[in-house]
Amino acid sequence: MFDWIQMLADGLVYGLLGLEQHSRWGEALSFFIYDSIKILFLLMLITSLMGIVNSYFPIDRIRNFLSRNKLYGAEYLLASTFGAVTPFCSCSSVPLFIGFVKGGIPLGVTFAFLITSPLVNEVAVAMFIGIFGWKTTLIYVSSGILLGTVGGYILGRLRLEHLLSDWVKGVLHNAQQEDAWEEERLNFRQRLPVIGREAIGIVKSVFWYVIVGIGIGALMHGFIPTGFFEAWITRDNPLAVPLAVLMGVPMYSNAAGVLPVVQVLVQKGVPLGTALAFMMAVVGLSLPEATLLKKVMSLKLIAIFFGVVTLCIIISGYVFNLIF
C-alpha cells in the first residue's frame, strides 16, 4: 500500500540528492521522508473518517445515552469505547467530567471514558497503522479500551465520590438525566466543509510533533546500532516494564510525538510490550492533566486515579510481552 512512498523517498535521497545507499545519513533521511509522508497521509485520512463519525454522533448524545440506559455493567465498556472514538483535547477533560457527573453518570463510568480518551484517538490510530500495521493497531486499540473498562470499574467499586471537590459534590447532588439536546440540523454537504476544516486543524496542530518525533526517530534509526537497548531493557528483566511505565507517567506528549520514538526503540531491541506500556503511560497520564483535574477532585482522588491506571498499564505491558 505504501510502496510508492518508499520509492519516492529513495529516489529523492539516493537519486536526486546523490547520497550513498546504506550510508547513515542516507538511511536516516530516506526513513524520515518515507515516514513523514506516510503518516501525514494516514492522519488526514483517519481524522476525516473520525470527523464524519463525530459529526453524526456528538458527545452530548453519548452522555444522554449513558445517563438514560441501565446497562448492568456494560456501561463501563461502552463509556470506554466512546472515549476511543471521541476526539480528545485535554482542556476539555474538566467540562466533560462535570458534564458526565451532572448527567447522573456514575464516577467509575466517567473515569472509564477519561482513561481511554487520550490513549486511543484518531491521531494514535493513524500513526499506529503507519508504523506497526493493522494487527498491532487492533491489539493496541482493544487493549486501550479494555484498560479503560477495567480501570473505570475498579475506580467505581472504590466509591470515591466523597473525594470530589465540594462544588462538584453539589453538582452530583443535583444530578439528573438530561434529555434536552438540540442538534445542528445539517445535511452531509453542509457538514463536509466543517469536518474537513476540523481534520486539517487536527493535522496542523500535531504536525510539528510528528515531524520532530520522526526526526528523532530517523536519527536514532540511522545512528543507534540494532540491539543497543537490549543491553539494559531486556525481556528477561522483570522490572523493565514497571520502570518504563513509571518513567513515562510524569512525561507529557501526545501519541504523535512519542510513537515515532517508540518505533525506533522497538527496532533496536526493546520488547514491543514494554515500549507500548511506556507510550500508554506518556500519553495517558501526565502532570498537566493532574493539574487540570485538581479543579474537580482532591489530591487523594487524583493519586488513586493515577495509581490504579498506572497499575493497569504495567499489567498490560506484561500481557503485551506475552502476546508478542
Partner: protein
C-alpha cells in the same frame, strides 16, 4: 449592543475562537462586547460538554469547534 461570550479554559482552540470573534465583529462593524469566560464553574452553568463555546446574547451558538470568521459574522 450584542454580547459575545467565549467559554473555554484557555486552550489554543479557545484563543483561536476569540481571535475569530474579534475579527468578525470588526468585519461586520457592529457594536459588540466580547467577554472571555475562563472560570470552570461559570462555564458549566451553560451545561456544555466540550469547549470552546460561542455564546451570543446568552444563547449557545457553537460548541466544541472553532468557527471561521465568516461563520461568526453571519451569526451576529
Amino acid at each position: 449592543m450584542q454580547q459575545i461570550k467565549i467559554l473555554g479554559t484557555g486552550c489554543p482552540k479557545c484563543k483561536n475562537m476569540e481571535a475569530n470573534a474579534r475579527e468578525a465583529v470588526k468585519l461586520k462593524g457592529v457594536a459588540a462586547e466580547i467577554i472571555k469566560v475562563e472560570d470552570i464553574q461559570e462555564i458549566m452553568a451553560y451545561n456544555v460538554l466540550s469547549t470552546p463555546v460561542l455564546v451570543i446574547d446568552e444563547e449557545i451558538k457553537i460548541k466544541g469547534r472553532v468557527p471561521t470568521v465568516e461563520e461568526i459574522a453571519q451569526l451576529l
